[in-house]
């Protein structure tokens, strides 16, 4: 007697698939492409008409003249935006400590006379492996190095950083962060 529920099951599923699986995403896409074209397509930054990145996706920087971002655990290359991944290392994992130490060494090598404590987000990997941001503390930590290598005033570097900082939502929610790629793009084009 309950077999009579098979037909409604199949047909109802079909109808709901049509509505939620096709009409709904198509509708959202159309509206998104009409009203939020830039955001819907990845918030791409164009320089001279060429796409050079996304405001939302970080890139690897290990050249001392650039502002460095978070560590990235994606493979085969860091900040691989086609395959997001975190490190998933536990807090006691010796590999985590090794990773942190490697980064610490790189920081020390690039700026041997900086003896300030290193902000934690500069030596840890992000959840996505694509984090476009670092904390203000981590950005400021790198100011003397960048200023020295680029022969700029520290104040100027700081200004660029502050310009590319997003504060908390309503001053309360989330964290204030610096967009690493945008800072570096601006550093490269910066002219006094």
């Amino acid at each position: 007697m309950n077999r009579e529920q098979i037909k409604p099951a199949v047909l109802c599923f079909t109808a709901l698939t049509l509505i939620t699986g096709i009409i709904y995403p198509l509708f959202v896409t159309v509206v998104a492409q009409l009203f939020f074209k830039n955001q819907a397509n990845g918030s791409i930054i164009f320089q001279n008409g060429k796409p050079v990145g996304s405001t939302l996706i970080g890139q690897t920087f290990d050249d001392p003249k650039y502002l460095w971002g978070r560590l990235s655990a994606t493979s085969p290359v860091s900040f691989n935006a086609a395959s997001s991944s975190g490190s998933n290392m536990g807090p006691l994992n010796p590999a985590l400590i090794e990773m942190v130490k490697t980064r610490l060494n790189a920081l020390k090598t690039s700026e041997p006379d900086n003896s300030k404590p290193v902000p934690v987000d500069l030596v840890t990997s992000s959840a996505s492996g694509l984090d476009p941001h670092i904390s203000l503390a981590a950005a400021y930590y790198q100011v003397p190095r960048i200023a020295q290598l680029r022969k700029l005033e520290q104040k100027e570097v700081k200004e660029i950083i502050i310009k590319n900082t997003r504060s908390r939502l309503l001053g309360l929610i989330g964290e204030p962060v610096v967009n690493v790629l945008q800072v570096n793009l601006e550093l490269d084009t910066y002219k006094r």
Binding site: C12, I57, S84, P176
Partner: protein, 581 residues
């Protein structure tokens, strides 16, 4: 000064409770068939579905028919998602030409989405085409949530109806949940998310030239970055609202294209708990005693808030091993500090910990940070919240019906303690209800413990573990806690995309879902048949603070006593080793 962590938690909870009431009232109107705007404007669509699917919406079903209808619908859904993945390579909307999914992974994913678990053994951008994500997963995001809500509504009817043999029409409950509750909310949320930067496009992945070329692990110089895109916003909105949690991308809502800003994060994490919290209020409205709804919501919050604060505290304290290396983990105006491994800068500690607690309290399972990299006790909170049976908010519908199972146990023990056969909401609770409720609290621990034990014995089980020491044990325990309670989040270091875990976790998710839903319907059927018992002075009031605390104690004690030994060998000992060194 109150720390920003507390302020953020406070705002989150305030907005949640504030939003629960109007949404709760709205949903009650929908389920009671009263006009509520959308259901009058789109009544034609609802009626079209019934006509199309040969459904007579006037027929009320016995609990068995209701269960059979639910099972047919869900089994067919599993089959469709499986087939879509297996045929992915020949189906349209596959701009990256991703190949078809292997059978074990396709099985795992199909069960995962139909059961509202949304465990991700797959990596979204590398495994699934746009078509599979939309027609397969997005659909399940809607209908698995609607299934949970339908079962809940049937149960609520059990408390309201008197002496009838039926519990309502599954198709009507399913369709109304989808059309009038889930779709409108998802539409609004997805468009707000797009405005924040969540991608929504059918274009192929896009390439950009990087500013500083970098060597990959093979020593090749990489000058381009491929950005994975897709119709993400439409899916992200419903995966948050429907406590599904299956991300469009591999790292879920930690991915900047799924969750780009503080605002998108706030709305997404709010969406996790929104419907589950509001359903408490809906419950109160339909049973004509709003205090009962508030009481359940209060019980949930009483467990949720301390867990949240504890998790924030542990994460904010940071990793003592890093302090020794001269790393600054202190919070300041310039940085959130704390344990930032596996967390996004824009979320810091507060937004990550709120999410981790909310996503595991509810059976959502989406993440915006990597739980595997949490401090031992910080990560124990998400794990334990799942082990409590996903009743602290829980899945949409399923969380509340799970909680009601605990209420049944609680009123039974409390009833004995005051010398009366227990009653809940003017219905007597007797041994049949006790049997079914007992089954509901029994199944998840069995799955979790037996699953974990099997995995740590087998080589395939052990090989998948990433982290050494007790943390590795935690990874396995977390995986089965997640699957066995239909959560879907993971200690993602565990490589579960292999035959053993895909099958074992698939089975776990299947039983955890339906072996709870079917007893729930049985209770609904049995309650519907009963007459109403008027409340007297001797009736135990179930809206008082005392009862709320008692209920909380029952939930905690069952959860704690069942899993304390296992937790002692995982996160607890890991923590003790960390502070001991």
């Amino acid at each position: 000064m109150i720390s920003n962590n507390i302020i953020q938690s406070g705002i989150f909870l305030f907005v949640l409770v504030l939003a629960a009431k109007p949404l709760g009232i709205y949903m009650a109107r929908i389920y009671e068939g009263k006009p509520a705007g959308i259901n009058t404007w789109f009544g034609w669509l609802e009626r079209w579905i019934y006509r199309f699917a040969n459904i007579n919406p006037e027929i009320s079903m016995s609990w068995k028919t209701y269960a059979v209808a639910m099972m047919f619908f869900n089994m067919f859904g599993i089959l469709v998602v499986y087939v879509l993945q297996r045929l992915q390579s020949i189906l349209p909307l596959n701009p990256m030409s991703i190949s078809s999914v292997a059978p074990d992974l396709a099985f795992n994913t199909a069960v995962s989405f139909a059961t509202n678990t949304n465990w991700q053994s797959y990596g979204g951008e590398t495994t699934l085409s746009y078509f599979s994500q939309m027609v397969g997963l997005t659909v399940q995001n809607f209908v698995s949530a609607a299934t949970g809500m339908a079962v809940l509504v049937a149960l609520i009817r059990g408390f309201v109806q008197k002496q009838v043999e039926t519990i309502g029409n599954f198709w009507v409950d399913l369709v109304r949940s989808t059309l009038y509750i889930l779709i409108p909310l998802a539409l609004i949320l997805s468009l707000v998310l797009v405005s924040q930067g969540v991608v929504q496009t059918f274009k192929p992945y896009t390439k950009v030239t990087v500013l500083q070329p970098v060597k990959d692990s093979n020593g090749n110089m990489i000058e381009e970055q491929v950005l994975a895109l897709g119709p993400a916003a439409s899916q992200v909105a419903i995966k948050q609202l429907g406590t599904n949690g299956g991300g469009f991308f591999n790292v879920n809502s930690a991915h900047p294209f799924e969750n780009p800003t503080a605002l998108s994060n706030f709305l997404e994490v709010l969406a996790i708990l929104l419907i589950s919290a509001a359903l408490c209020y809906t419950f109160g409205v339909i049973v004509r005693d709003k205090r009962q709804g508030w009481a359940l919501l209060a019980a949930m919050l009483i467990i949720f808030i301390p867990c949240l604060l504890f998790c924030i505290h542990m994460e904010q304290n940071g990793n003592p091993l890093l302090n020794n290396l001269g790393i600054n983990q202190k919070t300041s105006a310039l940085q959130s500090g704390g344990n930032m491994e596996g967390k996004e800068s824009r979320f810091g500690i507060a937004s990550s910990a709120i999410w981790a607690t909310a996503t595991t309290a509810a059976s959502n399972g989406s993440v915006n940070s990597m739980h595997d990299s949490y401090m031992p006790l910080g990560g124990m909170i998400p794990m334990w919240l799942m082990q409590l049976g996903e009743v602290i908010f829980g899945g949409v519908g399923s969380g509340l019906y799970g909680m009601i199972a605990f209420v049944i146990i609680a009123v039974f023990i409390a009833g004995l303690m005051i010398g009366r056969t227990p009653e809940y909401l003017v219905k007597k609770i007797e041994s049949y209800e006790m049997k079914m409720a007992s089954l509901m609290i029994l199944i998840p621990p069995i799955i979790v413990l037996v699953g974990t034990a099997t995995a740590v014995i087998l080589t395939q089980g052990r090989q998948a573990i990433l982290n050494p020491g007790p943390h590795g044990f935690s990874e396995v325990l977390y995986a089965f806690s997640s699957a066995g309670n239909n959560n879907g989040s993971a200690f993602a270091g565990l490589s579960t995309n292999n035959i053993f875990y895909n099958i074992a976790l698939g089975i776990a998710m299947f039983f955890a879902r339906y072996w709870l839903a079917i007893p729930t319907l049985a209770i609904a059927g049995s309650l519907s048949k009963k007459k109403l018992v008027p409340a007297t002075q001797g009736t135990l009031p179930t809206h008082t603070l005392l009862f709320i605390i008692f209920l909380v104690m029952i939930v905690l004690i069952v959860g704690a006593l069942t899993f304390l030994p296992a937790l002692a060998l995982g996160p607890i000992v890991e923590h003790l080793m960390l502070v001991g060194t």
